[in-house]
Symmetry: C2
Subunit: 762 residues, 2 copies
């Protein structure tokens, strides 16, 4: 495996990680001659096989199968996925922001609790709070409408690079260039989606060096079958988020339904369970330290091939700003929740997301600093320059690619604070976001479908409308109003040339002829805005969504009028994004091409929402000098943490079962306890939530749900010492379903029948 | 070694410790067949050899030398200490509250920074702040007066049980009984101290089953030679106190002086260095995980043989109350420091001590609960009952001993809240403490010397006066006043029958004829008290100390008059303590006797300030599920923690040296870094601060300075899984003296000349 380490990553080991007293947790370590007890010398040999690489399913045939066999793989790579034929990986499906797995022939799905959170929330009321109490459908009739939950089954892929880039005229501007690309992508997608119930995506691989058409089947009736209460599903809450040791049972059980003809359909009580081609066997045998595991899923985005400039911007501007904004945003929502208890439930999910983003930003800053990534990128660049310059052909082809890219990045920094705020104000004020969607939808509808902005085509109509409707449950008008006020104050602190003219005009002081972004003025203004709009009403949103642009222009809705006034500036912002995308689609691919050439088989593309697999090892790590995190947590540890106060307040039945040692058939023999979570060195990122974690036989042993804090900056570079992901051990899921819920019907459906020797099944 | 585990302690392992995922830190653990990688089964076999036992030096001949050889001991036990002859243990000496070690033939001593803290503080001024800057005497002429620092050299011991208990009349009351014992002890001590410069102590072994006379030589001129700044000596401050991982360089270097004739003397510039019979070789070879280490010192007090009743009282009453009082006391001093910056320096040491006590109390509560010690004591009792009842002779002799003891303990609970407050008010208000000392001294002086209360005999005169004088530097009148107000408020909340009449009278409201313990009334009263006293003045204290009781009674000093008014109640409190001591000296020994008989060679006496040794192993531990603490910390880890803000603000020179990798000759080869602190499973407690830690050859490798948080409750029961002490690795001390201070003269004096192979000496 050593040959597979990029040199830079071997360097990392020496650089940052093992300086502190890292691997002296072992005792009686006599067998491996290179590892002494209490040794802390940074020995690559002492590391578990690297889990680096988010490998496309479609490139499994390029991997070293023998090496994986040696590491514990017990099936052929072709059984996982063979292009054109499929494989067990079909059981891994996509969800919005997440991954999930089929675990029965009747369409039973398992994913994270936090991936099903909105569906659980939307089924909750004051009388029946599924967030607090959890849920179990005692029969299929009791399974609950997922309210917009959908799953996407990967069908096939095809290389469409030629179709996208072919025939591009010379001398196009960056905007024209990206419009060419988008137009072709849309055409390809449209053609692809002509097949019924098919969702297609042209995935830009290696930042536009290659374009891949991904074709998926969409199931629209996905129901809630079982979930633990949030106090278990998110045990430890924000305190433990991104942390180890972890004791969250972050899972939920869903089921996909289709109509009587076996076709995807919207929710209908008469629908019947979907029968997937493949589902994973659920294993109660579990995993132990040093075992091979595989994580399948659709990771969204990594930045492994960024330049020093990119990393510096992330470290010095983007994450500090994000951290600052999110902190203030959270304070506003928390204060609102204190003052207006009604606002707590609708804003809970947003606060959760912001806290997650805040910890992520802080961890990213700490991690990039700890990894000295700016310096590392410089070293990698130096290595690249030497490699390029060593060969005249390479030199000619690629030598300027890096400098050209960086030159553009340097130039394009202006206005970044404004663009950052524009992005978030439309998320922060949901009502303003509705108005923007509705007015833009009306404007785009005036164009032929294929000329519209991506996301505003006829194919998107249902999604847009559904989002507008579903948003009701997470909307609280006063909270929304206060958040808009927060953003206006920040927009007001921009240099005058960067401010949004529509807001400047709205806040203009008629005496001084200057906009007044003072707190009192903003408060008056946003109060008027929210008083004069009906967009807080679901039916009204639906009605306005179907209005023409002229009808909207004639409206008296204050938010609609604001969105129309902002439109030129928001459109310009959209255009700047496109221009930037166009420039980068021109500038990044040559640099990427050279890296692919340089790294050969060690190269894998950045995550881009296409299906990937990571081959990893169950392993602990040293978060800091003097501490070793062991890789498996237990029910005993869950109980140890319990304080009875949120977020450490497990349900009484769980506390009693743990105290009574009721382990069912799910105890790990070596641990003498039921595992709750475990760590591996798999290469994961956002989008891997809910990802199936398989053992060497391809059996489901866990659900990915997080990474450790020390691995947040891993998006910018895998680190053999610190890149660790956190998974729910499926044994705790089965334990909960069996010992706590008594959900025998689900266990039987999943064919979880065999028990480890020596322990009777409960 | 397994045979040596008391059964109860083997049970502990199964009970509490390994349930969480504790020992899966190891990788490649192939060699030891009983330990699997990631195993967490509570296997006693997987533990390092137990470090349990604070063994009296005088009983080393009863130990299993072969077993210790097998564990790594490289010298004969008789070389450590042979009664009547001595041994290398002579190099370990006592200090007030601490231990220290001779490390050169010229009387150079090493101990903890916190043991020398007052001496460092008393040599500090606004111009020359040794707390902040550290200190190095560049020559012997520059070594600084220790201002009361003394060391005690253990000379010999003898069993005086017969002399103490012999001739006791039948039917004595408990008070008479303890007075008999104290009288005999005083006579023995007086006779012993007739030898010049000799300090003697009758040590009550096994709670009065046996009495041992300890004879020590006292050196009174002990000077400050070198100390790091507090930012290193106490790196991590209260945040890291009682915690691992630890990176404090908690050391100071001192030197003992004697007069020109080689006799102990008070500070005098003409004194010359003392030449000890023994000093420890300082090793730069260090220790690694699994190595044997020995900790020598005078641990003060443990409670290993307490009853369920004792433990319950500790858990439910004593530590919660202590925690509550100390928290409030700290708040008062911190607020005073904020408002009156002048108060910060004098009160720093007190705040430090209180914080230490607070963490101790909280850790004790957590630890006793985690250890389920009440239940364990019940189980032990059951085992004892079975053992006693299995034999008629035992049954007759001991069966009632436990019940008799517990019956007394139950009865003697009344008034415990008052007695608790009385104890601390005399410490909290230093000025009131002075007044009590002065008035009691005057009262006792009216009696013949041998009839006086212990601590108030002629032999104590110098100590008492010295304490009264030295206290000046840690005295701040306004802080002292506020602390007394705090105690009065607490005393006022006692039931009327338990309140102190002198305070009730002083605070009597003439209208209601009830005392007014309201804040305003207390404030007026304590202000008057502090205005009307001269005890804040050092010279005045000395003058009053030499006054007769009649002179004091005629005084107008408000505090002196208060102390006289309180005298009957304080005397009664002293008497209650004595009565209790008398009762326990009667009731505990029979029970202890039975335990000694039952446990045989596994039995060791509770700590009682007599010289002890613990044989231990360098070892990590699992503080909680999913975490393993590795046993050696490094300079790299110190730097990792540095924030530049107190208490993580190491000096610039240290930061630079670490960044530059200037390790001198002190890096551990396996770690690739200089060790700072390490863990072992030695059996230590208060009084072991500064204790020498020796390797198997008897060479000094560290200085004990703390225990881990999870081991605070270890005072009530050694725990093979969690009992870990924290030591400064002497390599970091040498590194600091060499690389940072360039103190070559000290390294040469300590004969630290050889360097590990492969690294040149700096």
């Amino acid at each position: 495996m050593r040959a597979r380490f990029p040199r830079a990553f071997v360097m990392v080991v020496f650089f940052l990680l093992c300086a502190p007293g890292c691997r002296s947790g072992q005792k009686h370590a006599g067998g491996h001659e290179k590892v002494k007890p209490s040794t802390c010398r940074p020995e690559v040999e002492a590391l578990p096989p690297s889990g680096e690489g988010q490998w496309p399913w479609t490139s499994l045939d390029q991997m070293d199968e023998r090496e994986l066999f040696a590491r514990g793989l017990k099936l052929r790579l072709s059984e996982i996925w063979t292009p054109g034929q499929g494989g067990i990986a079909r059981a891994a499906v996509g969800m919005k922001g997440c991954s999930a797995s089929f675990v029965s022939p009747d369409g039973l799905l398992i994913t994270n609790h936090h991936c099903a959170y909105r569906a659980i929330q939307r089924n909750s009321s004051d009388e029946r709070n599924l967030i607090e109490d959890g849920f179990l459908a005692s029969s299929r009739q009791d399974e609950l409408d997922g309210h917009g939950l959908r799953v996407l089954l990967f069908r096939q892929h095809s290389d469409v690079t030629q179709e996208v880039l072919g025939g591009m005229a010379d001398g196009l501007s960056d905007l024209e260039r990206i419009e060419h690309i988008e137009k072709r992508e849309k055409e390809i997608v449209k053609k692809c989606e002509a097949k019924p119930d098919t969702r297609c995506l042209v995935s830009r691989e290696n930042h536009g060096l290659r374009f891949v058409l991904l074709e998926k089947l969409e199931l629209r009736d996905v129901r809630l079958v079982a979930a633990p209460p949030e106090s278990l599903g998110s045990y430890g809450g924000e305190v433990d988020n991104w942390r180890w040791p972890r004791h969250s049972m972050d899972f939920a059980v869903l089921r996909a339904y289709v109509d009587g003809d076996g076709k995807p359909a919207g929710y209908d009580p008469s629908n019947v369970p979907f029968h997937p081609e493949e589902h994973f066997q659920v294993s109660v045998d579990g995993v132990s330290q040093d075992d091979l595991v595989m994580v399948l899923g659709t990771p969204y985005h990594t930045d492994r091939y960024k330049t020093t400039h990119d990393v510096r911007q992330a470290l010095e501007w983007y994450y500090p700003l994000r951290s600052d904004l999110f902190s203030e945003w959270i304070r506003v929502l928390e204060k609102t929740c204190e003052e207006i208890p009604d606002s707590c439930l609708p804003t809970a999910s947003r606060v959760r997301g912001l806290n997650n983003g805040l910890t992520n930003a802080r961890g990213m800053i700490a991690g990039l600093e700890r990894a000295k990534l700016v310096q590392r990128k410089q070293d990698q660049l130096q290595e690249w320059i030497e490699w390029v310059e060593a060969d005249p052909a390479r030199n000619k082809r690629w030598r300027s690619s890096h400098d050209d890219l960086v030159e553009y990045l340097e130039q394009s920094r202006s206005g970044r604070d404004r663009d950052f705020l524009v992005k978030y104000v439309l998320i922060g004020s949901q009502v303003l976001g509705f108005a923007r969607t509705i007015t833009k939808w009306a404007a785009e509808r005036q164009k032929p479908d294929e000329e519209r902005e991506p996301g505003y085509q006829e194919r998107d109509r249902e999604d847009l409308l559904s989002d507008l409707k579903q948003a009701q449950r997470s909307l609280h008008i006063e909270a929304d109003r206060r958040v808009l006020a927060l953003f206006l104050a920040r927009l007001g602190r921009l240099p005058p040339s960067e401010r949004l003219q529509a807001f400047d005009s709205a806040l203009m002081d008629p005496l001084t002829l200057a906009p007044d972004y003072g707190a009192a003025g903003i408060d008056l203004y946003v109060t008027a805005l929210y008083t004069g709009t009906t967009l807080g009403d679901e039916a009204s949103r639906e009605k306005l969504f179907n209005s023409t642009l002229d009808e909207l222009k004639a409206s008296t809705d204050t938010m609609v009028l604001l969105a129309l006034a902002l439109a030129p500036e928001l459109d310009a912002w959209d255009e700047r994004k496109k221009e930037r995308a166009g420039a980068l689609s021109r500038l990044r691919p040559p640099y990427l091409e050279s890296l692919i050439e340089m790294r050969g088989a060690r190269f894998y593309p950045d995550a881009n929402a296409s299906p990937r697999i990571s081959f990893a090892t169950v392993a602990g790590y040293s978060p800091r000098d003097g501490v070793w995190h062991t890789p498996i947590s237990t029910l005993g540890g869950l109980l140890e943490k319990a304080t009875g106060k949120e977020p450490f307040d497990p349900p009484g039945a769980v506390v009693e079962a743990i105290k009574a040692g009721r382990h069912g058939a799910y105890a790990d023999e070596a641990l003498g306890d039921v595992p709750v979570c475990f760590l591996s060195n798999a290469d994961t990122t956002g989008g891997n939530s809910g990802s199936p974690v398989l053992d060497g036989h391809g059996r489901l042993v866990g659900l990915n749900f997080d990474r450790v804090y020390e691995n947040i900056a891993g998006d910018y570079g895998y680190n053999p010492e610190l890149s660790r992901n956190v998974m729910v051990d499926v044994r705790s899921v089965l334990w909960y379903l069996d010992v706590i819920l008594g959900a025998q019907h689900l266990l039987e459906e999943m064919s979880v029948t065999h028990a480890p020797a020596g322990e009777a099944h409960h």
